[in-house]
Every structure is written in structure tokens, then in C-alpha cells.
Subunit: 342 residues, 2 copies
DNA sequence: GTTTATTACAAAAACGTTTTTGGAAAACAA
DNA sequence: TTGTTTTCCAAAAACGTTTTTGTAATAAAC
């Protein structure tokens, strides 16, 4: 590594002058600046970000945490797109992305890890189903570290979150089904704890309500966003209620699982049963029965999260508020008119 | 940030003693060590990695570069799995992952970016189709920065690369088709420049050769790993040669495109034409015609790359050699016996 | 009871930057 | 001329660590 000292020696100036020349300060003679820049170029100089950040307190790194859920992270079909958007915007703004992966820190928390690396801000990509993370989250909320979470309610001085309008999204799906004549609409939910799951459930109930359909707990099962559990959920509902004609699912993977299970049980989709998913992942359109689903605007979520974070970083006084991104019902072929009663 | 100084003041010791106590040196009294650790815990102390790395020359960060290709990065279905494996192993080894995304550096190169951030090593995820990157690559090769590339031949003192056995993989596909009676086997290649594309082409030719089939340039088209180009390629081949009964493609996306195009042209798959892909992406198994394809062992590629990189970092004397990961033919339903001649 | 080893600590230098402060030289004003 | 700006630069402190070197105080050896 060539340092600022070597440049100083090269051009016969002091270290401070070189620094000021390189950083475009006004009180340096154009000629010396030229010489400095020339020398820097020749010596292939680039400033050590560690040394710099030690004094400036800025690293131009954005931290990234993934939930410990297996699907979370690079492989999750939903988060991929969110990530791409984040990557894009963060890069445009002149930051690099630090993905926290180190597993050898015993007592580390989100906060300590951020402080240790000195990231300027951080993005949390969680599912809301992580365990024993709550104390860490409140800790982070109070830390003053600029931070925005995705899908998980996080509010503080310099903290906020971004999510889809899960309530309205799910409501749209149910209203659509009701419009097609369905009255027995089952709900394959995510889980019983996370905000997004609860919002989707409430959207479902609100949709039923608007359509004048009474809520039947027998039609509710949780699928935990996993294929296996979703299959079980569908089977359970079929056992309890033979008359169900539609399934609305809290994710596309669960919708795929539902369709497969229904077909295995000899029930055609969408002829005898309609299925609607949530997310609109890549596979949804090309699925053998193109999936009708509630699309989450993933790019927009990533974009909003990044922009918000950058704003929080820029302006210490800003007190941010949560951002909600609209969902859109994508009509394809997995939901159709309710079968006529026989 | 609470610093080592504050701990020193707290316990009435010198800065150096605190440092040595925390780092487990032997020449510190057990009692003072206890006090120091206690204080560190109470003050919620974590060492500034910037300050530390300034003197130790280690950051415990692994750099990550993505090719500028659109598909490259978080969204590429192939690299996702590679990435997951990298993430896992890097984390186990006590490193974090620095994704280079900053676009505001004018004259930056791989090498300068690595030096600037001080990463201990770096992984290159490229496609081999990046433009004007060659000089940067040779620069990196000579830099002495530990580095392993994926799919792109990179060799140097502390540089190497990992790739699938593309030659043998493609050869297996062709041999399989030949075994099914196909004689007119078209090849939808990747591109004309990258090593992996060339290796796959050579595997194709070798497969033909072994089966006693002569090579026909009319059956070769490039699809540039993109849906649109692959469609064009298939149409061109159909124009030139009506008798072709099989298509082997250098990627799954191109295979999907081929199947769709064939069906549009009124040619049933696998009845009238067989199609084999390459990669075995997630969608392959669930595709409406489950795709027969050459599976790249993505997790293994990521694992090998990471392990190799860590070894290079550990041992400055090690001169690494390239690693080749075997491919496996996954037989599903998109390839069948050649139709009888009519 | 002196010499030698051992134990436990502190002081200071170093890493590569930025930033603050101060001041000489040059330019301008009177 | 003298006084006052302005222009340009250097010295030094600071950021938070690690590491090297030195040295008291204590323990062991004879």
C-alpha cells in the first residue's frame, strides 16, 4: 500500500498538504495540487478506508443482516429482488455493502456488530420469526444507528421499516374470489406471530367481511411459509370442510404446495378449487398453472428501504416513519369461478 | 463507542495492559484480567475493527465482486446457491462479506478497491463475458491479493479459480442423447469467448465424436445465456435443418426458451424433439416438462472456492491450482428416444 | 545475601488518515 | 513605508488499536 507519506516525500510537501490537495481543499496552490495528483496516480495511491474512517467516523459501508431462517438470505426468492434493488441504489450513492456473516462472536448483537465495523447504517432483512432477537432489536432501536428493517416493525430515533401493504393485498385476493362466487374460502397463513402474517390474516377477514361472508376458524391453517407445512394445512382443511372451493395463501411457495396437494387429492385447479398466492415470485408466471397471486413490489421495497436509510444517515435530525408499499393482484389462471353447487 | 482507554481508566490500568488482557496474552495477572473483562462487559466494549486492522493489516473481511452483467449478482439463479455456500463457510471461519457496489470511484480497479478496503481476500463472480476487464484481471493476478474466481480462468501467485467440469458435463448430455438414438443434435451455446462456453462446446463435439456423429456447423448457434437470443437460435437452426431431433443447451434458461419455441413451432417435446439444459436451476424440476439437464454442483463450487481462498490467506507460500467440480446428468422428461424415421 | 529469573505492568511508537492551529510569504491597502 | 489581508503550507494532535521495549517488584537459585 502506498501511503500519503510517500506521496509527500515524492513531491516534497507535507502530509497535511497532500491530504488537503487530494480532498480538494481550496487553500492549496494549483501547481502543487497537480503535482500531488500526478504522484498519487503514478504511485497507484488509494486511501486506506480504515485509517480514514478512524478519524472521520464514516466508512461508507452499509451493513446487512439476514434472519437466521434457512430461506432467508441470498436464496430466498422474495428477498433476492429486494436485495438487487438495495445493491443498486447503495452503489449509486457511493457505498459498499457489508454482509454480516461472522459466526465466531459470542456476545455480539446487531448493535455491537455495527459499531465494531463502523457501518454508516444498516438494513435488516428478517422474517419476523427469528427467535430471541427482540432484546437485540430494542437495543438497536435505541442505539442511534441508522437502520431500516424490512417486514419487521422497527421504530426509533433513527430506525424505521418498510413493508408491503399486506392487509390490503390479501383483502384484494379475497374480494376477487368472492367476486367469482366463492363463499368457502380457506386461508393458509404464514405464522401466528409476525406482523406481516397477522396483517395478511386481518386482510383476509376484512375481505370476507366486506363480502358478507362469516369467518370460520375451521378454514384457517398455518403453513409457516414452507412447502411441507402448507401441504399439511391443506389436508387438514379438506378433512374439516369438504365444501371449500378456494384457498388463499400467504406465499407463493405455499400456493404451489396447495395446488399440488389438491391435485393429488383428485381436486382440479382451478376447476374445482381456486388457489391464490402471495409474493409473485419468478416461478409464478411459468408455473404449469400460471399462478394468480398478490404481487409484492420487491424492487420498490428495496428502493424505499435504501432511500430511507440514506436519508436517515444524511440527516441526523430526521425522524423517519414507516413506509408501506402497495400490492397488486396479478390475475392468471389458478383462480376461476366457483363451481356450481350440485 | 467505548474505547480501550475508558476501560483502562475504569480499572486503573494502562491501555496496553487492557489490550493484552483482552487478547489473552500470558503476561497479565489473572485478577487484573478478570477486572478488565468485567469492565469491558459492563461498558459494552467491542474493538473498533478499523483501528485494529490499521495495525494488524487484517480486516477479516472477504471481498466479493460481481460481474457487470445484468443477471449476475443476487438474482442469477446459478450464483445464488454458490453465494449461499460462500456465505456459510466464510461466516464459519470468522469473516464478514464485503460486497463491492460503490460506483463512484473513477479509476478504481479490483486491486485498488481491495487494497482500499483492506479485504483479506476476494472472490470474483464473473461470467467471462465482461468487457475491458482483462487488464484489471492480470493486475489482480500480480497483486498478491488472495483471490479466487468462479468460472473464469485466473491463475497467479495467490490466485486461482473454480469451475464445473463443463467439458465432461456437456459430453455426458450428448452421449445420453446419442444413446437414445439421436443423430441430429443441435447445440445452443453460450458465447464465443468465455472459457466455460468453449469448454461446453468442446464437450459437445467430443460427445458427437465418441458416438461417431460428424460435426455439423449448421447445428451450432449461440444463445448468449438469454431467453430472447436462445429463441432466435432455435428458429435459425430449424430453418437450416428440418431433421434435427435434439437440442442441447448451455443453460437451463436457454433450454426453457428452446422448449417454448419448439412448442410454438408445433414441435412436441420430448416426442418430436428432445431438449437438455445445463445448470439444474430450481425451476428445472418443476417445469411443466421436467427438464433433463446437466447439474452443476453449485454448493460445492461455493464451498471449494471459499475453502481454497481461506487456505491461500492462511498460507502465503501456498501456490494454488485450479479446482474442477464434476457435473451430473439429471434425467427427467424433456429428453426421450429419437422419433422413428418416417 | 547476593545474583538471576520470572511476573506483571507501563510508556511509547506505529498504523494512515483528517483536522486544527499557527505562521511565513506574498499581495494589497493606506 | 507600514499595516493588513490573502495565499499557501507545515506541525502536531487525534482516531483506537497492537506491539515492542523497558523496568519495577517479586520469586527462585546459589
Amino acid at each position: 500500500m502506498t501511503s500519503i507519506k510517500q506521496i509527500a516525500k515524492e513531491v516534497g510537501a507535507s502530509v497535511s498538504t497532500v491530504s488537503r490537495a487530494l480532498n480538494g481543499y481550496h487553500d492549496v496552490n494549483p501547481k502543487t495540487r497537480e503535482k500531488v495528483i500526478e504522484a498519487a496516480r503514478n504511485l497507484n495511491y488509494f486511501p486506506s478506508s480504515a485509517a480514514r474512517s478512524l478519524v472521520t467516523k464514516r466508512t461508507y459501508m452499509i451493513g446487512l443482516f439476514f434472519g437466521d431462517n434457512v430461506n432467508s438470505g441470498f436464496e430466498d426468492p422474495f428477498f433476492q429482488k429486494v436485495l438487487s434493488a438495495i445493491r443498486e441504489l447503495v452503489g449509486d450513492a457511493g457505498y459498499d455493502l457489508l454482509v454480516f456473516t461472522n459466526k465466531n462472536k459470542e456476545r455480539a448483537t446487531y448493535t455491537t456488530l455495527c459499531r465494531e465495523r463502523g457501518v454508516d447504517g444498516t438494513i435488516l432483512i428478517l422474517t419476523g420469526r427469528e427467535k430471541q432477537v427482540n432484546s437485540q432489536l430494542t437495543d438497536l432501536q435505541n442505539s442511534g444507528i441508522p437502520c431500516v428493517a424490512i417486514d419487521v416493525p422497527l421504530e426509533g430515533d433513527r430506525c424505521t421499516y418498510v413493508e408491503s401493504d399486506n392487509f390490503l393485498g390479501m383483502k384484494k385476493a379475497v374480494s376477487y374470489l368472492a367476486g367469482l362466487g366463492h363463499r368457502q374460502i380457506a386461508f393458509i397463513g404464514g405464522d401466528e406471530v409476525s406482523k406481516i402474517s397477522l396483517d395478511r390474516l386481518n386482510g383476509y377477514r376484512s375481505g370476507l367481511n366486506d363480502a358478507g361472508i362469516s369467518y370460520d376458524p375451521d378454514l384457517i391453517e398455518m403453513g409457516y411459509y414452507a412447502k411441507e407445512y402448507a401441504e399439511l394445512a391443506v389436508k387438514n382443511i379438506l378433512k374439516k370442510n369438504k365444501k371449500v372451493t378456494a384457498f388463499v395463501c400467504a406465499s407463493d411457495v405455499m400456493a404451489f404446495a396447495a395446488i399440488e396437494t389438491l391435485q393429488e387429492e383428485g381436486c382440479s385447479v382451478p376447476g374445482e378449487a381456486s388457489v391464490i398466492g402471495f409474493d409473485d415470485v419468478n416461478e409464478a408466471a411459468g408455473y404449469h398453472i400460471p399462478l394468480t397471486t398478490v404481487k409484492q413490489n420487491k424492487e420498490e421495497i428495496g428502493r424505499a428501504a435504501t432511500e430511507q436509510l440514506l436519508k436517515i444517515i444524511e440527516d441526523p435530525a430526521l425522524s423517519p416513519s414507516p413506509i408501506m408499499i402497495p400490492c397488486e393482484l396479478i390475475v392468471r389462471q389458478s383462480a376461476a369461478e366457483a363451481p356450481k353447487k350440485t
